[in-house]
Symmetry: C2
Subunit: 467 residues, 2 copies
């Protein structure tokens, strides 16, 4: 493809994206395809000759979109929001266009320095404790996903527990981690990766609001210490995936401080709520946390992938992840004047991802995001009231933010059938979960283009199908 | 940003990218900035009002580019190639524009099915053994980087060694891994992440060509078995980072087969060479490998990130990485009819990365890449001959592909000074490494826009500065 062909095709694709988004409400939310159907529409073998850009775009329309779940659809109430503002898409396009590798400061200084600054900016906008800022012993970094942030936190915890006074013999086989049945699946996965198997993962009791019981956590730690084990890591979730429950970080922190336990706070979805001053309660207890993450690529609308991860203990992070072969040495890093972000993450290579955050903050700012967040929270409360007024429905869990879990009094199979029927219409999309053994429908309001009308229509759809 | 503003700004940015690339040769390769200089040019605090797109683009020109290492520059001979074809940039733009999450089949069927197909296509184009194809017990997936591919391979190996007859008690504390001093830093890092510490990482001797000695590997395994340990994993590198050495996979394979050792082949940079039939020797021994990776985002020019990872043992992969919470269940996956790629990687979320590979293969094909590969290999041989003819220089290692390591007879400090002086000119960029204790200059020829003229000019620059 020549530069001029790129210009023409690029303009066409930019327009295609705008068209797709402007007309998205006319499409089904979820696709209606069976496994294998999309693959069967594509050639089994690689092409032997090249085609025009228009041919590829036609296949996008006819094949790709046929098998696409439209996460940006205004009636997408499933999983979690996956917003991608136009500004962030342009930032990401520049990332691809430059294609520099930001693994070390020296491999593209602007990529590193803008990223450090963007994390400081975000810390300020979210009103995070100053100890997460880059000036001191802490700092922030963009991870691909909250799963990767979690794994980095676990590895930092493992390093600290095996390189300090707590467990001076460096033995990892006695490390114990704490979570609840509501903690995101990435935490047990990360623990497993780090060699902390299920036999050393304590599922701490949760209360009726699905939040960790702090006294149960303290008791579990006491029991493990008595057994000669080393309590190492706890994940306190601010906004669980299943029901948006908030673990009591301030109460967990005392137990952590007493026992040298790494306190990681996972606010992947909810943390962005702190852009709105009246929602800063989502940050409760962060002044005690060793690490924290929230995803700019969910509610905030910086396109995937853009997880924001902060730690207050850079030494543990580097202890866990730093490797320095000859071909990666640089005088800038050796002097301590520069950050090498490859030592802050699992992979070596890294995209210049700060650009999309910078584009979003400069071209859009956060005022519209704050208004959107307020709308979503308000509509969620309205929806919960509506559900309480409909005697067939039950509100299963607290709904302090933008998600409410519902079920039918008629039972699990009725709730399951309702979710399936609603999704099959293509008019809305929901996800199912199980809370304390019973099926629930998660109604997550987080898409940037969703209006009150879409929420209302989705609720009517559920009411109609519940009959 | 409104749709119409996006259209206008998008067209402008597409043109900016084409302009940047067309005039890239006029710029310095590496930037001339000190740590902190770029950050200081940006506002310390987040903006309180939004700006026009033109203002952002002006800052890209004046601030971002000032601190950018131009990896796409025709005189970039550092690290490894980071090509990003126009076609792949467009595919990546579509990924950002759709912003669907391909974590599970059901979350966007086309994302999964196109990815499986693209890996099958690539297996065919690279002439990989059919056992890596998706039809049987194996299959391919896009990982973000070779580091992530390696970690997935290590975790698969760990799972197999602790869930089979080899080590039926599930004990991970006796697992041993094998590498050489030339193996990429991501392998010790991945082993460390997986809890296989340095005390169980055997640095096997290499020969004068910097390749693993197969008899030394066999001896190390025998010694570990005698000590009651469990040999678990070996990384055979096809094209090491420091000197492009090839470990003898066919010879290592017998020891692996006898002892149930996972054989991972890392061809991150070199593997793409197999697009050219006469270079298929880079695949030697793959018929014995348990897993294999090469990066489409290096020599091939699909923009970062696009590592191609294949395994022949899907069961070990899923055993190592599968986690199934209620909110991720789907009937399609439960029936076994669909792949859920979240179980093939560390993170949960994932971009629809197959699009950029599909765009590249359909819009550009591979014929131009094959010609480019042949040119780069040819110029490297020419360059090595030139260096041999210049009595000041020494060719340090075999150079079967597109990189040659040079040093000055005058000694390490002279070689170091040469690299620094060359890089300071901004006319070319090289990376330093150390081979068997002595400094070497890596001259890596891999950028798509490099011509014979640029190689020649860079060599003259070195000759001139060596004086």
């Amino acid at each position: 493809m020549t530069p001029d062909e790129f210009r023409a095709a690029g303009h066409e694709l930019i327009d295609w994206i705008a068209d797709y988004r402007e007309r998205l409400a006319e499409r089904r939310v979820g696709p209606d395809v069976a496994p294998g159907e999309i693959r069967a529409m594509l050639p089994a073998h690689p092409p032997s000759s090249v085609v025009e850009f228009g041919d590829v775009l036609a296949d996008v329309d006819e094949i790709v979109l046929r098998g696409t779940t439209n996460w940006l659809h205004p009636s997408f109430f499933a999983y979690f929001p996956s917003n991608a503002s136009y500004a962030s898409v342009l930032g990401d396009l520049l990332t691809a266009g430059l294609n520099v590798n930001g693994m070390s400061w020296v491999t593209s200084p602007a990529a590193t320095e803008m990223e450090t600054l963007m994390l400081d900016w975000m810390g300020e906008l979210l009103d995070l404790p100053p100890r997460f800022a880059s000036g001191g012993d802490g700092g922030g970094v963009i991870q691909g996903s909250a799963s990767e942030a979690t794994l980095v936190a676990i590895l930092s915890a493992r390093w600290r527990s095996t390189h300090g006074a707590v467990n001076a013999d460096g033995d990892t086989s006695r490390l114990v981690a704490y979570l609840t049945a509501q903690t995101h699946s990435s935490i047990p996965k990360g623990l497993r990766v780090a060699g902390i198997g299920e036999d050393r993962q304590r599922i701490v009791d949760h209360d009726e609001a699905f939040a960790m019981r702090p006294e149960a956590f303290a008791d579990a730690v006491t029991a493990d210490l008595a057994a000669g084990l080393v309590p190492c890591f706890v994940c306190s979730t601010h906004g669980t995936t299943s029901s948006m429950a908030f673990d009591p970080t301030p109460e967990l922190a005392a137990t952590c401080a007493r026992n040298g336990i790494w306190l990681h706070v996972d606010a992947a979805m909810s943390g962005i709520g702190a852009l709105a001053p009246e929602l800063r309660w989502v940050n409760a207890g962060l002044e005690h946390a060793d690490s924290y993450c929230t995803n700019a690529h969910k509610w905030m609308g910086v396109n995937f992938d853009c997880d924001l991860y902060w730690t207050v203990d850079r030494a543990a992070l580097l202890g866990a992840l730093s490797i320095l072969p000859e071909y990666l040495r640089s005088s800038a890093a050796a002097s301590g004047a520069a950050i090498d972000y490859r030592d802050w993450q699992i992979p070596l290579g890294r995209r210049f991802r700060a650009l999309k955050l910078w584009f979003a903050l400069r071209l859009d700012g956060v005022d519209d995001t704050i208004s959107m967040v307020r709308d979503h929270v308000g509509w969620t409360q309205w929806l919960a009231d509506e559900a309480r007024r409909d005697e067939r429905f039950e509100v299963v869990a607290p709904h302090p933010l933008n998600m409410v879990c519902l079920r039918l009094h008629a039972g699990d199979s009725a709730t399951d059938a309702l979710i399936e029927a609603a999704n099959a219409t293509g008019e809305a999309l929901f996800t199912r979960t199980v809370l304390d053994g019973r099926t629930a429908l998660r109604f997550s309001i987080g898409t940037a283009t969703t209006t009150r009308h879409h929420v209302d229509a989705a609720w009517r759809l559920l009411q109609q199908l519940a009959t």
